[in-house]
Symmetry: none
Subunit: 259 residues, 2 copies
């Protein structure tokens, strides 16, 4: 069940932490590791701290951007220790595991990403806005930053605990939400990203949005559409509306040039 | 509440793991560290991996035997990855935290110990027999041994989660904007209804929707926006987009009439 859950480490500085994360993953039954632009990898420190989870390291996929790492994922959770200006749906590790396992129970082929930021500065605001949910590990407010591998360990542990509990209690596995009744294919993070780009372009064309004075418009729209779990049909409708709007406004522009 | 819980590390080989354990403890609000016959301590590797939990390291008590480390404790839990010949009460990390917090709720002055063994071989049978309960972290049977600091992290995390829950304290940080009171006012059903009418009108004007051939478009959009629980600010953004679209398209229509 956890085979579709990937751990994404963004811009990791210390290869030892990559090894520690790989070990924590393998301990808990996770296998998919994706490294976004790691500073040093492969590296002997990673192998040493992996303590035998070499297969996870060897199988790690290295990509240049977070976008690439999550493009095919229908659920993306990002860890965040700090307060952000824009309110975002926040889950604790228990709720996160629940959310992930619900998704996989409904859609066994879905891909899910748990995203972890840099050792010193976490994920950027832009990266966090690509995540549908933020995960907060309930650490002490005055000493809140966990070691990277330790944070992976906590989330992986919760996933394993709850997947075991669900297997022991199969009646709990089919928790059906209204959105699942239609057995729909969820939009992927890549499709969502294309939608946001298209949306922003149209908002500029109709004169609603000025990228020079963004006023938090796009983050707010990302939060709105990020939490609704669009399915593919809905995505097609929204893209269709944007395209028709462009045609309507484009005709206008042509009309104006003619006058 | 957690001030009476001590972490006991027995015969640790790598000082880096002592530092990692100290950091994990401080992240989760534990402060009492007891080291039984550590191979190398103090050590710069411990300080480095502690990443600021120097107070936990400085306050660490060093003793020669496990017996000494737990002499004043009324509850002792020992971690164990492997099956032992002697049957013993075994708890998972969740149950362990529950057990510890029950004890402290009944006896606020009680001292409790969580005991962790050597990196390579864990606790001896003799040491395990000094523990009332054995804690088993539910790792994969074929790759079961967690890093020492990671094991401390998991147990400390469970203690913190459950102590927050018992106190009725939030287990996650709430991200709040200064304007959040306004932003988070949910849109009413009446406002939603006006939005749907406005949306339908615009979809007709841009040529995306034909009320004579509705093809389930509006029900689908109602289902999408109905389940996202729009707040008032988001509603205002969406209405603003519709109005601007109408202006852009209206200018077009006027332009076409002029040609």
């Amino acid at each position: 069940m956890l085979k579709n859950v990937r751990v994404v480490l963004v811009n990791t500085s210390h290869p030892g932490n990559i090894g520690g994360a790989a070990r924590a993953m393998k301990n808990m039954g996770l296998t998919q590791l994706v490294l976004v632009d790691p500073e040093r990898f492969p590296d002997p420190d990673a192998v040493s701290r992996a303590s035998g989870a070499d297969d996870v390291l060897t199988g790690a996929r290295i990509v240049a951007t977070l976008e690439e790492a999550i493009a095919d994922c229908s659920l993306v959770l990002g860890t965040s220790a700090r307060d952000r200006r824009i309110p975002w749906p926040v889950l604790d590790p228990r709720e996160s595991a629940d959310k992930v396992l619900d998704q996989l129970a409904q859609l066994p082929d879905a891909q899910v990403a748990l995203v972890f930021g840099r050792e010193d500065s976490g994920l950027t605001t832009d990266e966090l806005q690509r995540c549908q949910y933020h995960v907060h590990i309930p650490s002490m407010p005055d000493f809140s930053s966990l070691n990277l591998a330790a944070a992976v360990q906590v989330l992986a542990y919760e996933l394993r605990m709850q997947s075991l509990q669900r297997e022991g209690a199969p009646t709990k596995m089919h928790k059906v939400e209204t959105t699942a009744v239609f057995n729909e294919i969820p939009a992927t993070a890549g499709e969502l990203e294309q939608f946001y780009q298209h949306l922003e372009q149209v908002l500029v064309e109709i004169g609603f949005h000025d990228p020079q004075k963004p006023r938090q418009l796009m983050p707010r729209l990302r939060r709105l559409y990020g939490r609704v779990h669009l399915n593919r049909m809905e995505m097609n409708i929204l893209r269709g509306i944007l395209t028709e709007t462009q045609k309507a406004v484009g005709v206008k522009a042509a009309g104006e040039r003619r006058t």
